[in-house]
């Protein structure tokens, strides 16, 4: 039975349902309990934004606070995954990857290949990304293109409460390492989410809106921005198909290519930095495999090649928004060779 809950509640529910189902699942991270060792409430926080609140009460020592030692505990999660547990590991902000990246890309991602197919590493690394909180350059990045670059990792970017629950359950059941990227601005988004457990397979894009004139591929929080743009553009008579790939790795190439085959025009919208990012990645895919259908240059809407600024005015200019998306769509729709 579906009812309206937030993205954040959907995450909590997914973890809860999976932990009830499989006792090999453990959850670890800084303050995921949120009060270890203290004289006050042991589970005062339940995560820096309260996402895992309540789980400690249910699962006790399967929920573990950690010291601020990301290499240590991310590596422990990876090692535990290679030893029979199914850890969910929280890297509080994706921006902190720089102090633990080795354990993710040289260890977890490569075990199976380096070890000749004999290892399985079912670890999920949940992490918060994105701008919009006035959190400045070191707490607002996207960075998932860096993980997408690495063979052996799966990368998930849920864009709605419904998706985040189904994709997280899928991630937990998946036997490869998964980087699960939660946009901090989406935590409070509400949507219909079934109470019962369900999974959404990786590598299957969601066509969130159908249309015939222009294909918009958008990721994470940008899916909602793209939908807003599409709604506005519909009034101008431009019909947009909006595709949310949901996972960047594996990537559902076919859905994107089929759509472009129909529309002949593509705009890619991403909040990550432009160079070697998702916008480039999707553009390249279509420029190669969908070239014959293309009727116009592939447009991209991304932030500029700058760090994320602090001041609200600048941050708002930094992040792609419906206006900029609409402008790009108009440009491509109006292009005639």
């Amino acid at each position: 039975m579906a009812r309206k809950i937030t993205y954040q509640q959907a995450i909590n529910e997914a973890i809860d349902q999976e932990m009830a189902r499989d006792e090999n699942i453990v959850l670890m991270g800084e303050d995921v309990v949120g009060g270890s060792g203290s004289d006050g409430e042991m589970d005062a926080w339940g995560g820096v934004l309260g996402v895992t609140k309540g789980l400690y009460g249910k699962y006790g020592d399967r929920i573990m606070d950690t010291p601020i030692s990301e290499s240590g505990f991310v590596g422990a999660a990876v090692g535990a995954a290679a030893s029979g547990l199914r850890p969910i590991c929280e890297l509080m902000f994706i921006d902190f990857m720089g102090v633990c990246f080795d354990q993710i890309f040289n260890q977890a991602a490569k075990f199976r290949y380096m070890f000749g197919g004999k290892a399985e590493t079912p670890v999920v690394i949940r992490t918060m990304y994105g701008a919009g909180f006035r959190a400045a350059a070191q707490h607002s990045q996207c960075l998932y293109p860096l993980f997408t670059h690495i063979p052996g990792l799966k990368v998930v970017l849920p864009s709605s409460p419904y998706d985040v629950k189904g994709l997280l359950i899928q991630a937990i059941r998946d036997n490869d390492p998964v980087i699960f990227c939660e946009h901090k601005v989406l935590y409070t988004m509400e949507g219909d989410v079934p109470e019962e457990s369900y999974t959404i397979p990786f590598g299957e894009a969601n066509i969130v809106r159908e249309g015939d004139d222009v294909t918009i591929v958008a990721f994470g929080r940008m899916v909602q921005q793209a939908l807003k743009a599409a709604t506005a553009l519909a009034k101008e008579g431009i019909s947009c198909e909006v595709i949310d790939p949901r996972t960047t790795s594996p990537l559902d190439e076919d859905s994107i290519l089929e759509s472009v085959e129909n529309t002949g025009r593509l705009v890619v919208v991403d909040e990550a930095s432009p160079r070697c990012g998702m916008a480039a990645d999707i553009s390249a895919l279509v420029a190669r495999k969908g070239f014959s259908s293309l009727k116009a240059p592939i447009e991209v809407v991304t932030p500029p090649h700058t760090p994320v600024p602090f001041a609200g005015k600048l941050e708002d200019l930094y992040v792609p928004n419906p206006d900029k998306i609409a402008a790009a769509v108009r440009a491509t729709a109006g292009y005639n060779a």
Binding site: E30, D31, G34, G35, S36, G37, S38, D39, G40, E41, M42, A44, W45, V48, D65, T66, P67, I68, S69, E70, S71, G72, D95, F96, G98, V99, F133, R134, A135, A136, A137, Q138, H139, P304, H305, T306, P307, P309, F310, A311, G312, K313, L314, L317, Y318
Partner: protein, 324 residues
């Protein structure tokens, strides 16, 4: 090692501590009113730490701070108006509104930056200390870290490197008992952070961080060692924070009444005032005059911040590279 502190020194120390306290108390109030965006971590309660250290620092000494950086900035001499404007995200801010509370830096005064990454600063000060060492003028560099940060690999590496290269560095660990909501008795695997010094071949001391005089004296020794080529030191300040981890923290991990009790019992400013009026012949009037001065300074800073312009749209694209 204790240096004689003149009355003027003591009044300066008081002024610095009080400026930090007023700054933080005011940011707390303005944040609640909604005037300040982002993540803000306040230093109130820990003033003796930054101040006792800062008084030893020359302009060409360098300091690397952490997310809880306002106190370190003020003690290193960063201008308060610019700081406040920065926290408000204004173009007149120390970093022209592009950094915010977690990234205030002012290289001209030797302040290498607050840091949003726990453990980000200690490697950096090794470099600053290397530069000082090569210059040969007795400069030093100091890193401030929390108890939580003491478990970050970057911090251990920096300590090892500082000894291997015999660098003029002082690592100050401000142990306020918590890293966010996690108690340091849980996260730090040894009894005192100071015990870690031995594993890195440097002296380690535990200091009452509420006691300006103890802080000042211990740092004098470490600074002397650093400046004379003796290498790095570790100092652990045991102290308390008076606000939550960041603005908005429910603080339920603290037992009820802890903060109120600490404000009463451990306030470094009260303690300092009592001592200097009792033992150093400073009058309550002198301190009150400074209080007024500071209150005015902070009022002005807030007014300045509030009335300052936002950044220009074009600022978004500048400062990525030297030419860009």
């Amino acid at each position: 090692m204790a240096q004689a502190l003149s009355v003027e020194d003591l009044l300066d120390a008081y002024r610095t501590m009080k400026t930090i306290r007023e700054f933080e108390d005011r940011v707390h109030v303005e944040f609640a009113k909604g005037g300040i965006p982002g993540f803000v971590h306040l230093y109130a309660g820990e003033e003796a730490s930054a101040t006792g250290v800062g008084m030893h620092l020359r302009d060409d000494d360098r300091l690397a701070s952490n997310h809880r950086g306002h106190g370190h900035c003020i003690a290193k001499g960063v201008e308060v108006k610019g700081m406040m404007a920065e926290i408000y995200g204004k173009r007149t801010g120390t970093c022209r509104g592009k950094g915010g509370s977690m990234h205030i830096a002012d290289l001209d005064t030797g302040m290498m930056g607050a840091n949003g990454i726990v453990g980000g600063g200690p490697p950096l000060v090794c470099g600053a200390a290397l530069a000082a060492k090569r210059k040969g003028k007795g400069g030093l560099a100091v890193a401030f870290c929390g108890d939580g940060a003491s478990n970050q690999g970057t911090v251990f590496e920096a300590m090892n490197l500082a000894t291997v290269w015999k660098l003029p560095v002082v690592f100050v660990f401000e142990n306020n008992g918590y890293a966010e909501a996690t108690d340091s008795r849980f996260s730090v695997s040894c009894k005192d952070i100071a015990q870690r010094a031995i594993g890195f071949g440097m002296p380690g001391r535990i200091v009452d961080g509420h006691d300006f005089f103890a802080v000042h004296e211990a740092f004098a020794e470490a600074a002397e060692r650093a400046r004379s080529g003796g290498g790095p030191s570790l100092i652990e300040h045991k102290l308390d924070r008076f606000f939550g981890h960041f603005e908005g923290d429910n603080q339920k991990y603290r037992p009820a009444g802890e903060v109120a009790r600490l404000r009463e019992e451990t306030c470094c400013i009260k303690r300092f005032a009592k001592k200097v009026t009792g033992e150093h012949g400073i009058t309550a009037q002198q301190l009150a005059a400074i209080d007024d001065e500071v209150a005015k300074l902070i009022d002005e800073a807030v007014a300045f911040a509030e009335t300052s312009p936002e950044p220009e749209a074009s600022d978004l694209l500048t400062d990525v590279y030297i030419k860009y």
